[in-house]
């Protein structure tokens, strides 16, 4: 597709339920990232994929959060047993590459986000 797409655009769930958020990166982009943005704040990094492997999971806030990527394309972020503090906008980004020094291959492009509300 022309840009990064995410679904659903909005998700309202009850505390304790599991949710799955989907990201489709730009075609041909090998690197994929998940970030979270709480209301009125900047973005915080969650996890990064190079191909289908995740060399950096250090931003995941707890073991309730997991992510996978298949076919070097679509990624799913899963939050188990959701809590009210998980309410935020979850944004996905992709780039052509990730580790080329000071190259525009590293430039990240963001999707529109999924707004998650946990009641």
């Amino acid at each position: 597709g022309a840009g990064v797409s995410q679904s659903p655009s909005n998700k309202v769930t009850e505390k304790g339920k599991d949710v799955e958020l989907r990201c489709d990166p730009i075609s041909g982009h090998t690197a994929l990232y998940w970030y979270r943005q709480r209301l009125g704040q900047g973005l915080e990094f969650l996890i990064y994929f190079q191909g289908n492997s995740a060399p950096d999971k250090s931003g995941l806030p707890s073991d309730r959060f997991s992510a996978e990527r298949t076919g070097e394309s679509v990624s799913t972020l899963t939050i188990q047993r959701t809590q009210q503090e998980d309410s935020a906008v979850y944004l996905c980004a992709s780039s052509l590459a990730a580790t080329v020094v000071r190259s525009s291959y590293n430039e990240q492009f963001f999707g529109p986000g999924t707004r998650l509300t946990v009641l």
């Binding site: 690197a31 190079q50 950096d56 931003g59 580790t99 590293n106 430039e107």
Partner: protein, 110 residues
């Protein structure tokens, strides 16, 4: 981890005015990007600029990597420029994650 500080936190302008937004960072970076987050929450790429100067229409940016800062210039501002401007950096030693500043909230009044 790397610290990113943006200033000013809020800026109110009259249409047609010029402005300068600043981003300071605490360590060497591999990647620096400026984004505009519009009122609908979409992050729009403005510049990929780990060093040097770039211009795109009414916007330009300069990064002085050795002094660890970047500047975003907006000239002849328009109401559509309103929104939050974020600077984000990728620390050389920590791979590809972007660390974001808290942003500058820009309001351009007609």
């Amino acid at each position: 981890g790397i610290q990113v500080e943006q200033s000013p936190p809020d800026l109110i302008l009259q249409e047609g005015a010029n402005s300068t937004l600043r981003c300071n960072f605490s360590d060497s970076v591999n990647n620096l990007q400026w984004f505009h987050q519009n009122p609908w929450g979409q992050l729009i790429n403005l510049f990929y600029i780990p060093s040097g100067t770039k211009q795109n229409g009414r916007l330009s940016a300069t990064t002085v990597a050795t002094e660890r800062y970047s500047l975003l210039y907006i000239s002849s501002s328009q109401t559509t420029d309103s929104g939050v401007y974020f600077c984000a950096v990728d620390q050389e030693t920590s791979g590809s994650r972007l660390t974001f500043g808290e942003g500058t909230q820009l309001t351009v009044n007609p």
